[in-house]
């Protein structure tokens, strides 16, 4: 049954490559959803069905939908993709590509130096996760709650549509 894993992995890699190369934002976001779904399948195979569900609901659902809202609000479309076309040339690709490749090679090498162990998958059910979450990790949960609260307030504050506002020092520079 390993084949499911390989297929999902291949889908994830291909769709991710497409995400970072697409010029139209909506296309990129659609490939991103595909990538998330593929990863969700892998989660399921690794015996984490609860997390797989969360991956679909939150990542592929909520977060990507947020992105799409923003794309709609900012009315990004053909002009953006045209712009992207001019921006994405070989010279911009080259150095980041090399760097990322080095990073990848190193990661792969590091993984290979570890003893190759075979996982015997045992499902860790949501109950075990919940017990652990509200047991030893309670502080973490509280902190995450605070972070989310800060995120909500921050987003609500920063996202306000204000008239163009310069910092007072910059304003002096302008004059």
């Amino acid at each position: 049954m390993d084949v499911f894993f390989y297929i999902a992995a291949a889908v994830a890699i291909i769709s991710t490559v497409l995400v970072i190369t697409r010029k139209h934002p909506v296309h990129a976001l659609l490939y991103l959803i595909v990538s998330f779904l593929a990863v969700a399948i892998i989660f399921y195979q690794l015996g984490a069905p609860f997390v797989a569900a969360l991956e679909i609901v939150l990542y592929a659902g909520a977060i990507v939908v947020l992105f799409i809202f923003v794309v709609m609000m900012l009315n990004l479309g053909k002009e953006t993709s045209l712009q992207e076309k001019t921006w994405l040339n070989l010279s911009t690709w080259l150095l980041p590509g090399i760097l990322a490749s080095i990073l990848l090679i190193e990661l792969v090498y590091l993984i290979n130096t570890q003893p190759n162990s075979t996982i015997t998958i045992a499902e860790v059910d949501p109950k075990a996760v919940a017990l652990s979450l509200f047991g030893p990790y309670l502080i973490g949960v509280e902190l995450a709650a605070m972070l989310l609260m800060a995120g909500v307030i921050g987003a609500a504050h920063i996202g306000q549509r204000k008239k163009k506002y310069w910092h007072r020092f910059l304003q002096e520079d302008e004059q």
């Binding site: 760097l99 990073l103 190193e106 590091l110």
Partner: protein, 621 residues
């Protein structure tokens, strides 16, 4: 009775607090009432205490009152305790009585001053500090009062602070007396090291059976404190400049009371000094040198207040001479008489200056004899006391005792006697000069002001005392009244004589010298004023006029080297090494700042490169 001692410093303190915090709320009458009232009440308390003390003397010669414990560190314990004995009594009486008279005088003298309440607040604080000083049972409390009077002196010299010269004079007084204060503090530390206590009576008890080589050092350090406060050689230069303050301040602080704190300190610590003949000799020598230098300087001054300032230094020199030769009671007696006549002279001088459009120069005065009759009469009486006019002035009896003892007492010597007698001659000379220049001759200016009754009363009372206070102590060959020495002798050791020549002969010499001085002065100065100016234009007089150039000497010795050092170290040499570190980090920061391109992609690249580096480290290691 002993429950009343605390009232002495508490009443002026209360007056000070009231005036300092609520002074702006009161009108002038109320301010004057509080200012005089607090000191007058203290005077009444002090008189009551004195009468009680004299009529029923306590068994062991003193009364003490402990208010509370100030501090305690291990076995070092300081209490707020007042010690009231015959010596304190004399000082308390003079401080409160003369203080009250000067307060009364000030209400008129300062009547038109803008800062009326500030003036009385400072005066009250001064009286409070001075009383703490003379009532203190231990040296720490004494030091509190000592510093308190120094502070008030500073505040009052610079009272008219809007004129920068007054501020400089105040700072000079404060800094120079600080040198003495430091010496006193070190002396106190050594005392504590030797005896383990700073309570004066305990030190006195232990000192008798204590032999240590450091006693002389301690005595000299304590004397150093007295030198600063009492403007003796070599720290005398601040007192003439201190005349920048209002005249009542000069009268109270820089003549009658504060400057005698040094005399008090030595008299209070007499057990220490008695153990060290060397220190006693130093005290006597310094006193003699000071009295001569100051007397000659007074002879050449033009400013009437500076004449009096130098004469104060000179008279303080007499007191130290007396202390040095071991004539304890004579020093205290001269202190009391001096307080009366010098306060009188300063108040008189203040009135004259006020009446003459703030003219200080005696050569621009003259002919005031008929214009200010009361001031003239009292001033002449005060001058007679200063010049020690034989028989009728109090100054004669106190100064004659000192001159006599400078020859005959334990540490006396013919040389000291000679200096004292020459000083007496010069004193008579410059006193006559002052009186003649001020009151005789032709009138130069019209009077701007006629002093009122509140100025006259203190003058008359002090003049009365300047004559009659001397009669409480008469030489044994002449009446032999020993009220004062008998009384103060309870707190001070008796004066031992080593030789006893005929006292009458020496009295006669002193009297003749004084009379000759007065007559010579009259002859010299009552002639044409131009001649006097000619006479005083010589180099010697210039030397005297500048106070023997002590200020210039200190300028060359201390100020200029200090400024020189400050100038070469202007850029703070030590700080240069720190600047190197600053330079390196600044340079590095500039180098790193070039990586701040503001391009977010470069930052991300940097993060990735960093990640690669960390992973590489893991691979390699």
């Amino acid at each position: 009775m002993e429950n009343l001692i605390w009232l002495l410093p508490a009443l002026p303190l209360f007056g000070f607090l009231l005036l300092a915090f609520l002074g702006s709320k009161f009108n002038r009458e109320a301010i004057a009432f509080i200012g005089i009232g607090s000191v007058s009440l203290a005077t009444i308390v002090s008189l009551y205490l004195a009468i009680n003390f004299i009529s029923s003397p306590p068994e062991n010669g003193f009364i003490s009152q402990t208010l509370w414990q100030w501090m305690q560190v291990n076995n070092f314990k300081v209490t707020i305790t007042f010690h009231y004995d015959a010596l304190s009594l004399v000082f308390v009486f003079v401080i409160t009585f003369v203080g009250a008279l000067i307060h009364l005088y000030s209400t008129e003298f300062m009547a038109h001053d803008e800062y009326y309440s500030r003036f009385f607040a400072y005066l009250n604080l001064f009286v409070c500090s001075m009383l703490i000083l003379v009532l203190a049972d231990n040296l720490v409390l004494l030091y509190l009062g000592w510093e308190g009077v120094g502070l008030c002196s500073y505040l009052l010299i610079g009272f008219w602070y809007k004129n920068i010269k007054n501020g400089i004079a105040a700072q000079k007084a404060f800094i120079i007396t600080r040198i003495g204060d430091t010496s006193l503090a070190i002396g106190m530390f050594l005392l504590f090291k030797e005896f383990g206590t700073l309570t004066i009576s305990e030190i006195s008890q232990q000192a008798v059976s204590h032999s240590s080589s450091s006693i002389t050092l301690i005595a000299l350090l304590l004397f150093g404190g007295a030198v600063g406060k009492s403007a003796q050689l070599p720290l005398q230069t601040w007192l003439p400049d201190a005349m920048a303050g209002p005249s009542p301040v000069s009268a109270l602080i820089h003549a009658a009371t504060m400057v005698t704190a040094g005399v008090y300190l030595l008299a209070r610590m007499h057990t220490i000094f008695e153990l060290s003949p060397a220190a006693m000799h130093v005290v006597a020598a310094v006193g003699a040198a000071t009295l001569l230098i100051a007397a000659t300087s007074a002879l050449a001054q033009k400013d009437i207040k500076r004449v009096l300032a130098y004469s104060t230094i000179s008279q303080l020199g007499y007191m130290f001479l007396a202390l040095g030769v071991g004539a304890w009671w004579a020093a205290i007696f001269h202190f009391m008489i001096h307080a009366f006549f010098k306060a009188l002279l300063f108040l008189g001088a203040g009135t004259i200056i006020e009446a003459q459009h703030h003219e200080h120069n005696m050569f621009n005065m003259g002919g005031l004899k008929d214009k200010l009759p009361t001031v003239f009469k009292t001033f002449v009486i005060g001058s007679a006391a200063l010049a020690a006019l034989p028989l009728i002035s109090a100054g004669f009896y106190s100064k004659d005792a000192i001159i006599w003892y400078s020859l005959t007492a334990q540490n006396g010597s013919p040389l000291l006697w000679l200096v004292a007698i020459i000083g007496s001659f010069i004193t008579a000379l410059y006193t006559t000069r002052m009186v003649v220049l001020t009151f005789y001759g032709t009138s130069k200016t019209s009077l701007s002001y006629q002093p009122g009754v509140r100025m006259h009363i203190p003058l008359i009372i002090l003049a009365f005392l300047s004559v009659f206070a001397g009669f409480i102590e008469l030489p044994h060959n002449f009446g032999h009244v020993t009220l004062f020495s008998g009384f103060v002798g309870k707190a001070l050791p008796t004066t031992l004589l080593k030789i006893e020549p005929s006292e009458s002969l020496f009295q006669l010499i002193a009297a003749i010298v004084c009379l000759v001085g007065i007559l010579l002065g009259w002859k010299l100065y009552s002639s044409n004023r131009e001649k006097v100016i000619d006479l005083e234009s010589g180099g010697l007089f210039k030397f005297f006029f500048n106070g023997w150039y002590f200020d210039n000497l200190y300028k060359v010795l201390f100020q200029q080297p200090y400024f020189f050092l400050a100038r070469i170290n202007k850029n703070d040499i030590v700080d240069k090494s720190n600047d190197v570190i600053v330079g390196i980090s600044s340079w590095l920061s500039n180098q790193l700042a070039t990586s701040q391109t503001g391009s977010m992609r470069w930052y991300v690249m940097g993060i990735i490169a960093g990640a690669i580096m960390i992973l590489t480290l893991q691979l390699v290691l």
